[in-house]
């Protein structure tokens, strides 16, 4: 089912949170709403599921205008950030609740619950209460509860925020698998970029109530429209160098660093620029050699992360397969991969 936010606005009292947002999520698509805390992600979700009423605009499910429909009539499944499991009910009762309030006979509920709990691999936990479950199990119960009523739209509000790294990894693939299998339209709210990139067909990046860019993960990663977007995606994060346009190249004043820029970048001489260099594009294998001193190093198992303070002050980050020959304080000369650099205007626009 397609979901369309048409010129949607929402304010609380005098606080305008969202103004004239238009967003379309295609049928069966999984879209991530990504953005910093307080940018309006949850607000958007709450409007879609009907807990808050928009102060302007319309919300359409397929071609049906649901703007004034109460939640109960929208047929949506929601996984809340805190799961919002009912602590006094068993897992089975939690999952069966949406069916029970529909008045479905107990026998049918049991069947449905069995089916869906199998899908999320918690069939063996049905008799427990939420307090007796681990975070990941709770999360799957919440997911099962959201799915059991065969919703038209699935909304996930930071469903993984409470999990530890390992569980997170597992749940990412699980949710995606289920969403694919059931072919449901889903919106995932998160502020974790890895989550957004790994799980979704498209990502919408929000900032202060507005959508800054909407694209596929790869597009978003490779072709960010602003420095904000570029900084938001990538782990370890991108580093920026500040400089000016000098003879068709990016130059950092008072330093020898020159990065030739593609001709497509039409900036007049002396314009202030920002050069984004992702850690994987600053390695021994690049084409523009730069020297500096290692100020920080950490092992992450199969890879090492280095912060390199360039001559002249600016910092570049590098990620490389594990090596043992570089330590903090060492002088290194590594190279920027000129094909990987992203060029931004001083105000953050991508050039």
């Amino acid at each position: 089912m397609r979901v369309l936010l048409d010129n949607f606005s929402k304010s609380f009292g005098t606080t305008k949170v969202i103004e004239n947002m238009t967003l379309e999520v295609g049928h069966g698509e999984m879209l991530a709403l990504l953005g910093p805390s307080g940018c309006g992600k949850s607000t958007t979700l709450f409007a879609i599921c009907g807990i808050h009423r928009p102060t302007g605009g319309r919300i359409l499910f397929g071609d049906r205008d649901v703007t004034d429909l109460p939640s109960q009539a929208r047929n949506i499944g929601v996984v809340f950030q805190s799961y919002a499991l009912y602590p006094h009910m068993t897992v089975a009762e939690n999952i069966g609740f949406p069916l029970k309030v529909k008045g479905m006979p107990g026998e049918d509920i049991r069947k449905e619950v069995d089916r869906i709990s199998g899908l999320v691999h918690i069939g063996n936990l049905l008799g427990r209460r939420p307090a007796e479950l681990s975070g990941g199990q709770q999360q799957r119960v919440a997911l099962a509860r959201a799915l059991v009523r065969k919703p038209d739209v699935l909304l996930l509000d930071e469903p993984l925020a409470n999990l530890d790294a390992k569980l997170r990894l597992e749940m990412r693939s699980e949710i995606r698998r289920i969403q694919r299998e059931t072919g449901i339209t889903a919106i995932l709210v998160t502020h974790d970029q890895v989550e957004a990139m790994s799980m979704c067909d498209r990502i919408a990046i929000m900032k202060e109530g507005e959508i800054v860019q909407i694209a596929t993960p790869a597009e978003m990663y490779n072709d960010p429209r602003t420095a904000f977007v570029a900084g938001f995606l990538g782990n370890p994060p991108i580093t920026f160098l500040r400089g000016v346009m000098a003879n068709g190249a990016f130059a950092i004043p008072d330093s020898e660093i020159r990065v030739p820029l593609p001709v497509s970048i039409a900036a007049s001489e002396g314009t202030k620029l920002m050069l984004g260099v992702r850690p994987e594009h600053f390695t021994p294998a690049g084409d523009i050699a730069v020297s500096g001193k290692v100020t920080f190093a950490e092992t992450q198992g199969r890879e090492n992360l280095y912060d390199v303070s360039l001559d002249g002050g600016p910092l570049l980050r590098s990620i490389q397969p594990v090596r043992h020959d570089v330590n903090i304080g060492d002088a290194v000369t590594w190279a920027i991969d000129s094909k990987g650099v992203l060029v931004f205007a001083d105000d953050g626009r991508r050039l």
Partner: protein
């Protein structure tokens, strides 16, 4: 000793001492009182022996002569008395004149003796008259003796020859203090009204508790929960008013509503019904109002507890259930109520005990009437034992009646504490020092 334990003992000491002094010891003392016939007349701290005509009434049937003799006041002008008068250091002429003119005279009352003394030439002052007459008092009527020993010594000097058995009955009859007895309990058991009063009490506690202190309080909490903050606060304040209004005023407002000149009467008058006293018209009405009056006060505590418990349920659970398709009723039924077990238990327990002990509202509204229709145990205790128009409060009986209440309270508390799963209430400290 561990420092935290030491600190604990010190910090709990004030509460422990206060509770020991002003709760536990009084309760124990009340237990003791309940085994006595203590009244205003017997005093609290002990008694004396007083040969008063009233106290001799009982003896009149068993030993009429002695009783009669003892209860006669007698003032005899004799040598002993005159010696004593001389020792008072008054004008010497007084004794001389008495000896000369009145030796051997016997007066039946003190007043007569004093009239004589006043007529003496010396003209003693009133104070002196009293002093002098005292010296010739040859009876024990109305004197107080602080011990049995003193009483019988005095009787001895007056020439009473008494057997031990007689002494015992005299001592018993003339003792003014209280005695040990179990009579209070047998009085309670034998009183024709007590079963009825006990039933009233249970009815009262159960109805107010179930209808108002829990159910209606819950209703208030839920209603205000589904409201924006401002009206919710207003309604909560309105329902808190009965609790903070002095009970005399509060009950008066109900009377204003229910008396024959009250609001309901006037209103019904407009429809042609003659005014009547709706409050006391019949037992059913009285019960209705007793329950309303107490219920309106009692609802506020539950309302506060339930409201804050409701507030403690994460909002997301409400959102989730709405998204899951629950109607308002289903939300209440399946989400709110099941999670209110604890607060409901707490309120039930606390309010049961409060209700058992409360009677003021009933006292001021129906006084337990009409008839004894709305008399409850604590009110009966108050009525029979602690509110005596004629000034003789029956502390012993009152204590016994209160004790019954306490026993009921303890049984119920133990029952509730069990349900509360009391053991889980006190958890082991996590800092081990």
């Amino acid at each position: 000793m561990k420092s935290s334990r030491m600190l604990g003992l010190i910090m709990i000491a004030p509460a422990a001492i206060m509770i020991l002094l002003f709760f536990l010891m009084p309760v124990v003392l009340t237990g003791v009182f309940s085994m006595t016939n203590m009244t205003t007349a017997t005093g609290i701290s002990g008694g004396a022996y007083q040969i008063a005509p009233h106290s001799l009434n009982d003896l009149k049937s068993t030993m009429p002569d002695i009783a009669e003799q003892m209860s006669q006041p007698r003032y005899t002008i004799d040598e002993t008395g005159l010696k004593a008068v001389e020792g008072l250091g008054l004008d010497a002429g007084i004794a001389t004149e008495l000896r000369a003119k009145h030796m051997g005279e016997v007066f039946k009352t003190r007043r007569e003796a004093e009239r004589m003394i006043k007529g003496l030439d010396q003209g003693p002052s009133t104070t002196q008259v009293k002093q002098i007459s005292e010296q010739f008092n040859r009876s024990v009527v109305n004197s107080r003796f602080s011990s049995r020993q003193e009483l019988f010594t005095a009787l001895d000097t007056l020439g009473f020859k008494l057997t031990d058995a007689q002494k015992d009955s005299i001592a018993e009859a003339t003792y003014t203090g209280w005695n040990w007895t179990t009579e209070n309990f047998s009085r309670i058991v034998s009183s024709p009204d007590m079963a009825r009063v006990l039933f009233n009490t249970l009815l009262y506690v159960a109805l107010v508790l179930v209808l108002f202190n829990t159910t209606y309080a819950m209703l208030l909490a839920i209603w205000t929960h589904y409201m924006p903050a401002a009206p919710a606060t207003i309604f909560r304040s309105i329902w808190l008013l009965p609790r903070i209004t002095p009970v005399v005023i509060y009950v008066l407002m109900w009377k204003w509503l229910a008396w024959d000149t009250g609001f309901i009467s006037v209103l019904m008058g407009k429809f042609g019904y003659p005014p009547k006293n709706y409050l006391l018209d019949n037992a059913y009405n009285a019960w209705l109002f007793v329950i309303l009056i107490n219920g309106f006060i009692g609802a506020s505590m539950g309302m506060l507890v339930f409201s804050s418990a409701l507030k403690a349920i994460p909002k997301s659970q409400f959102f989730a259930s709405e998204v899951d398709g629950a109607s308002r009723w289903q939300q209440i039924r399946y989400i709110i109520l099941p999670q209110m077990r604890w607060p409901i238990l707490f309120v039930t327990c606390y309010q049961t005990l409060s209700l058992l002990a409360s009677f003021n509202e009933i006292l001021l509204s129906t006084r337990g009437g009409p008839g004894k229709a709305t008399e409850v145990w604590s009110l009966a205790a108050y009525h029979t034992a602690l509110n005596n128009y004629a000034g003789n409060l029956e502390y012993g009986l009152g204590a016994a009646m209160a004790l019954v209440l306490v026993v009921i309270g303890i049984v119920l508390s133990l029952f509730y504490l069990r349900i509360f799963n009391y053991g889980t209430l006190v958890s082991r400290p996590l800092i081990e020092d």
